[in-house]
């Protein structure tokens, strides 16, 4: 499965990044490497551009770039890393 096939709110583990040297290097420096956990924050109209998060880094990338990243989705969406829970905790921290 490819990254661009994920829906908003889903997480996945990166299996392999199949891009040219340059792009791969760039992904690498964002921490987007094999084995990293990646979370889909949102996307623009018609899923042209995606916003993803790896650890504490948010990056925007086009669907055509996301296609180069093979992933394995994490199915149980309510696990510890789930954003829902983080959001709830969060509201206390910032209000």
């Amino acid at each position: 499965m490819k990254l661009n096939q994920l829906e908003k709110g889903q997480s996945a583990i990166v299996v392999i990044v199949e891009a040219n040297k340059e792009l791969k290097n760039r992904f690498n420096s964002f921490g987007l490497v094999k084995g990293a956990q990646i979370y889909i924050e949102g996307h623009s109209l018609a899923k042209k551009t995606l916003e993803v998060r790896i650890n504490n880094t948010r990056i925007a990338l086009r669907a055509s770039e996301a296609e180069k990243i093979a992933i394995k989705p994490i199915l149980e969406t309510m696990d510890k890393a789930s954003p829902q829970e983080a959001t709830n905790l969060e509201s206390n921290a910032y209000d």
Partner: protein, 697 residues
């Protein structure tokens, strides 16, 4: 003098830190790629002179984009004593990738763990002593915003500077170290001399660093060295099961960073993203995100006009009074005229728009410092992409609404030369702050006040849309090519401090005023001379005789006006204006407007200054002077006014911007293209605007 190279990933607060350390005023913004060229800051502390070079942020030491190249070349070639590596404490693992690369250079290094305030809030605890030991360099916690750790970082730099030895501390994996050792011992045997340590050189060779190879290629030793390096490659390939050296090295870096973080950093709270998430849910929503952005822009232009016009009236009244007072004080003389009608009228016409400029710059500053900028780039990427532009182009384009000069520089963040050129060509369509006075003047003269904000918004939006359309045409013809990938970091939202906003806006306002007081002043006086000379003594005498013979006051008045007009039309400026009149006549401009556009090539502010001087001179001097807006209303028709606005929207940017454009685009040739291309479009569209408005009204 301690020479320091300031290096770090983008948006970690390098420039902000130097502003705090050295009391400088470097540009700070909350997105990647604020600093695009190196900036030097000098200051003295504790008896030492510091010279810090702020370099563009780099994720790693590669040379893909121009700004990355600036940084890499500086680190490779320039003469500096130590590197100050700024690190974002809230994102430390990723930041350490770059730190390991810097360690491999084997220069003196100090690490600033910046954003400590945010790290504390997010529960990230770093043991900086331990980390320092691990990396073999001093690590200091700092916060550029709260100004903590500033003294410590200075002391650390001084201590590092005074240290004699500089041991190589970085330890790669065993396999890697073994290959490095092989090469080093060979280089040692051969007594190779090198500016950097042999180990650093060996690492460069194993990374296939171009400069390192260029250094050896012409030397006989290369024949022996090559097989050794090659053997190293083969071992690495075998061990890592890949032939991609970047992969191998990235693995090494990641392992080092991970190890360091595991040993020295504690995450006391679970990572949380609620605050940013909540705002993003709205601002980056796939349907409402863009409308919200457009609404905010619309609001900004409403404010620019509505709020800006309040102090404008006072400023206008003030300068009118000043002109009258000067004239009555100095009497009716050449000198009085050059001061009042030249200098004061010209400078006044420019200062008049200071309130509008401030509001516009405030809007841009908020966009830049909150983190919204990158979001809008994200929202617009899909749309931009359709027109052959890159989402990242948004940043230089928005900068262009302020001033084209930094906008041309900001285009450096675009990696691909074609994308960059394309963006450079359309930056001019984003009306810069200096064009705002012209719009405010003409819109104020021809439209009801409650429409003015909307019209202003319309002008900017249609300029931008036109630019994007032009980009499409250029992309299909001159700049054909493949699309560049779009990958961009999104900063977290940050509430800018009042001080930061104040610094940003006041610096720009001061620059505008300074320009009014120097360049515009000079230009206004020049325009005054060009519009008062050559003198026409015979004609004047003729009129003098006629005036003496005239029977009543009215006739005298008429003769006086006739003379003033005759003198103006036959001045140098009048001649230039008349010469170019045929070119501009189909667009509905009189020669004064033609001249104003021509002087506008020097700087857009000069357009209003010229109009101020020219329409001021033509009128009868005995009456009380009118405001600039009234003069425009009296002398220019609606159709001509609209056509003028259209021309100003499109034609060549000012001299300073044109020079920067030429440098960034890479030659005179491009400036020539830009001139022809913008002039043709400006002429055709102004002609259409003029004819259409005339037909309707």
């Amino acid at each position: 003098m301690i020479k320091i190279a300031l290096v770090g990933q983008p948006n970690v607060g390098k420039s902000a830190l130097i502003n705090s350390v050295g009391n400088a005023r470097l540009k700070v913004g909350n997105f990647s790629g604020v600093t695009v060229k190196k900036e030097v800051v000098r200051f003295s502390r504790d008896g030492y002179d510091f010279e810090i070079t702020d370099l563009p942020g780099s994720y790693s030491l590669t040379d893909y984009t121009i700004e990355e190249r600036v940084t890499k070349n500086y680190l490779d070639d320039a003469d500096y004593d130590l590197i100050l590596n700024v690190v974002d404490s809230t994102n430390i693992e990723r930041n350490l990738y770059l730190t390991t690369e810097l360690l491999a250079l084997n220069k003196k290094l100090v690490v600033a763990l910046n954003m400590t305030d945010e790290a504390i809030k997010e529960g990230v605890c770093i043991d900086e002593q331990q980390l320092g030991k691990l990396l073999g360099v001093e690590c200091v916690k700092t916060s550029a915003v709260e100004k903590t750790g500033i003294d410590d970082i200075i002391h650390a730099m001084i201590a590092s500077y005074n240290r004699k030895t500089n041991p190589f501390h970085l330890q790669f994996s065993e396999v890697f170290e073994e290959e490095i050792e092989h090469i080093v011992s060979f280089l040692k045997e051969k007594k190779v001399q090198c500016k950097i340590s042999l180990k650093a050189l060996a690492i460069k060779l194993l990374r296939e660093d171009r400069n390192a190879y260029l250094r050896f290629r012409e030397e006989p030793i290369w024949i022996e060295l090559q097989p050794i390096v090659n053997e190293g490659f083969q071992h690495l390939y075998l061990h890592y099961d890949t032939k991609d050296l970047d992969d191998i090295f990235n693995d090494e870096k990641a392992a080092l960073a991970k190890g360091a973080v595991a040993e020295t950093v504690q995450f006391k709270k679970q990572l949380k993203h609620g605050f940013t998430d909540k705002i993003d849910a709205l601002l980056m929503h796939q349907f409402v995100g863009l409308p919200i952005f457009l609404f905010l822009m619309w609001g900004l232009f409403q404010l620019t006009f509505e709020v800006g016009s309040i102090p404008m009236e006072w400023i206008d009244a003030f300068f009118v009074m000043l002109i009258d007072a000067t004239k009555s004080f100095l009497g009716d003389s050449e000198f009085s005229s050059v001061i009042a009608d030249g200098a004061i009228a010209g400078v006044g016409a420019v200062v008049l728009f200071l309130p509008n400029i401030i509001i516009l710059f405030l809007g841009i500053a908020l966009l830049e410092t909150t983190g919204y900028m990158s979001r809008v780039a994200f929202l617009l990427d899909g749309f931009f992409h359709k027109f052959g532009l890159h989402g990242k182009s948004f940043i230089p384009l928005v900068t262009g609404f302020g001033c084209s000069v930094p906008a041309y520089m900001a285009a450096r963040t675009l990696k691909n030369d074609r994308d960059r050129l394309l963006t450079l060509f359309i930056i001019g369509f984003m009306s810069c702050g200096a064009r705002l006075p012209i719009y405010v003047l003409f819109v104020g003269a021809f439209f009801a006040e409650h429409h003015a904000g909307n019209i202003l918004f319309l002008i900017y939006i249609s300029g931008a849309l036109l630019g994007i359309l032009v980009a499409k045409v250029l992309k299909m013809t001159a700049f054909k090519g493949d699309d560049e990938p779009f990958v961009m970091e999104m900063p977290k939202y940050r509430l800018p401090s009042l001080q930061l906003i104040w610094h940003t806006v006041s610096a720009q306002a001061m620059m505008y005023l300074k320009k009014a007081g120097t360049f515009i002043l000079l230009a206004s006086v020049l325009i005054w001379f060009a519009s008062n000379y050559p003198k026409q003594p015979e004609v004047e005498q003729d009129y003098q005789v006629k005036i003496e013979q005239a029977s009543n006051n009215e006739a005298i008045q008429a003769l006086n006006n006739e003379l003033a007009l005759y003198k103006l039309e036959n001045s140098y400026l009048g001649m230039i204006g008349h010469a170019s009149e045929p070119f501009f006549a189909p667009l509905g401009y009189d020669w004064r407007m033609a001249v104003a556009l021509e002087t506008g090539l020097a700087a857009k502010e000069v357009v209003v200054a010229t109009l101020g001087v020219l329409y001021g001179l033509g009128e009868d001097n005995t009456e009380q002077s009118e405001g600039l807006v009234e003069k425009i209303q009296a002398n220019v028709s609606l159709a001509s006014g609209i056509s003028f606005i259209v021309f100003v929207m499109i034609y060549l940017p000012c001299l300073a911007a044109s020079m920067v454009f030429m440098r960034e685009a890479g030659g005179w040739k491009y400036l020539g293209y830009l001139f022809v291309f913008t002039t043709v479009i400006a002429w055709v569209l102004s002609f259409l605007a003029f004819t259409l408005t005339q037909a309707i009204t």
